[in-house]
């Protein structure tokens, strides 16, 4: 039993496609078997809503009179890049405010823009013959910007580490506060609902794939930064540690503050929760096997963040079902767990995407170019060296 992209798209176009979320698909597969589920269902939707630091927006402000070539740029006191053309900028979510530090950053500016609030734009420029103005201080709204779009270099990490801390003091990380002496464990994945965990070898998700980005229809633009297809994989080819990633693009004006939320991690910095969802066509039984996996089948690796080195020691693996139970056992000790990725929001995203495909008849397309496949590229560290050692 195999279905082609064209057959699935024809069913979507006729409004006959059977579209379910990854959680619903697992239930159907459990009740009727994977074969029957693969026959019955055309598209499975996924979703995730976790902090994704490598996110940000490109903005074009339009030209003032007289015009300015913006060099130093701030939005609500948060610096944005001046390294593009005169009135273009890139604002990254982790950039802290010059006045409020990490309590307000790039992510908060983006959330304010999405909420319809006016944002104060200040910029200085060198003053040139074609751009004589040297300073500007004004207010902008999302609606008035010429272009405003997300370009998130790394979203939707395929699996992530479970963080613990074996040291004697609390550590404050991007995975939240980790209590001393294995006082808690935090984890950050939508597990069985997570986009790339449902397509572990990137058969259907690649460059050009339509996806949900913060409430807006968007696309996978490229492999994400730190995309590492060569991580250890289980018997289903599902990675057991952080591996694949995607870069995504989408119109900020079509996004929603319901699916983009600024975040501040005490002792670490600014980030943003970004909602990502990808529809996956049920092409054959092979892909149906991984779509039917549940949190009990997917494992993550426990990493000791109490050790401040690049290669941190591991305490073995646990399943997402164990993590979701609120408690795991590490070296005979019971350790309470807590997530950082919102499961209620992930479910909501998968449900919205189901409507987009089923009711708005959002057809799918095979990748224009596949993401780097397992075995295809190495994930390299950064060595500290002098010029002679290169």
């Amino acid at each position: 039993m195999a279905k082609s992209w064209e057959e699935i798209n024809a069913r979507i176009a006729r409004g006959e496609a059977v579209v379910v979320t990854a959680e619903e698909f697992a239930e159907i597969a459990k009740a009727d078997g994977v074969k029957a589920a693969a026959r019955k269902v055309d598209v499975v939707t996924t979703g995730t809503f976790g902090p994704m630091c490598s996110s940000g927006v490109f903005l074009n402000f339009g030209h003032s009179d007289p015009p300015i070539k913006m060099g130093t740029i701030t939005l609500n006191d948060v610096p944005a890049s001046g390294g593009l053309a005169a009135v273009d900028t890139y604002l990254g979510v982790t950039e802290p405010s010059l006045t409020k530090g990490i309590e307000y950053g790039g992510a908060h500016v983006i959330e304010d823009l999405l909420s319809g609030k006016a944002v104060r734009l200040k910029a200085t420029g060198p003053g040139t013959d074609c751009y004589p103005r040297t300073e500007i201080d004004t207010w902008v709204t999302l609606e008035e910007l010429n272009q405003a779009y997300f370009f998130n270099p790394r979203n939707a990490y395929q699996n992530y580490a479970v963080a613990v801390n074996s040291s004697d003091r609390a550590v404050y990380t991007y995975l939240g506060p980790l209590l001393p002496r294995l006082g808690n464990a935090t984890f950050c994945s939508a597990g069985a609902l997570s986009p790339l965990l449902n397509d572990p070898t990137y058969r259907t998700i690649g460059v050009g794939t339509r996806c949900f980005v913060a409430g807006a229809p968007g696309y996978v633009a490229w492999e994400g930064t730190q995309h590492n297809p060569n991580q250890t994989r289980d018997e289903h080819d599902v990675p057991v540690a952080p591996s694949g990633t995607i870069a995504v693009i989408a119109d900020l004006k079509a996004a929603s503050p319901e699916f983009f939320s600024a975040a501040t991690f005490t002792g670490y910095g600014v980030s943003s929760f970004v909602g990502i969802g990808v529809p996956i066509p049920v092409l054959d039984e092979e892909i149906a096997e991984t779509l039917a996996l549940t949190d009990a089948d997917i494992q993550a690796t426990i990493i000791d963040y109490g050790v401040a080195t690049r290669s941190r020691p591991s305490f073995g693996r646990v399943t997402y079902a164990q993590l979701r139970s609120g408690e795991i056992t590490i070296e005979g000790r019971k350790v309470p767990t807590g997530p950082i990725s919102s499961l209620p929001k992930a479910r909501r995203i998968a449900t919205v995407l189901k409507e987009w495909v089923g009711e708005r008849r959002w057809t799918l397309a095979p990748p224009l170019q596949p993401l780097p496949q397992p075995g295809s590229q190495a994930f390299k560290p950064l060595e500290i060296r002098n010029e002679e050692a290169v």
């Binding site: 005490t266 309470p336 990725s341």
Partner: protein, 135 residues
């Protein structure tokens, strides 16, 4: 044995009174001080959980009233801004007494006030800054 959480407001002149001694010695109560803001010469506030006989607690409350201390049942001191909360669940990972947890099934955030010891770990952890303590 009964257990109650009391919110005590001290007038400025009373702020140095050794309340704990009287609760233990005169009323045979076990006080557990959860939060306190006491400055000489200023109005003070104390959040105390007392365990003991029900009638002893009632008598102790009467005594505290006679001492000029305003006694109220501890109210909703921990506030969750539902509009800001994204139900990520990070607060549940740092809540040692287990007052914050995620419901099985829908994974909605659940707050059990009786278990809260007002340690503020959740206030610090919440990436949305959605949790505040009014006292």
């Amino acid at each position: 044995m009964a257990r109650r959480r009391l919110d005590l407001t001290f007038p400025p002149r009373q702020a140095t009174k050794a309340i704990a001694y009287h609760l233990v010695k005169d009323y045979d109560l076990v006080p557990n001080f959860l939060r306190a803001q006491i400055q000489p010469g200023q109005q003070g506030r104390m959040l105390v959980e007392v365990s003991g006989k029900k009638e002893s607690i009632d008598a102790a409350i009467t005594f505290l009233g006679h001492e000029g201390i305003t006694v109220a049942e501890a109210a909703s001191d921990l506030n969750l801004d539902e509009d800001r909360c994204v139900a990520c669940g990070l607060c549940t990972a740092v809540c040692k007494p287990g007052a914050l947890s995620l419901a099985t099934g829908d994974y909605a955030l659940v707050f059990d006030k009786d278990k809260c010891v007002y340690c503020e770990a959740c206030v610090v952890a919440c990436p949305r800054r959605a949790v505040t303590l009014t006292f």
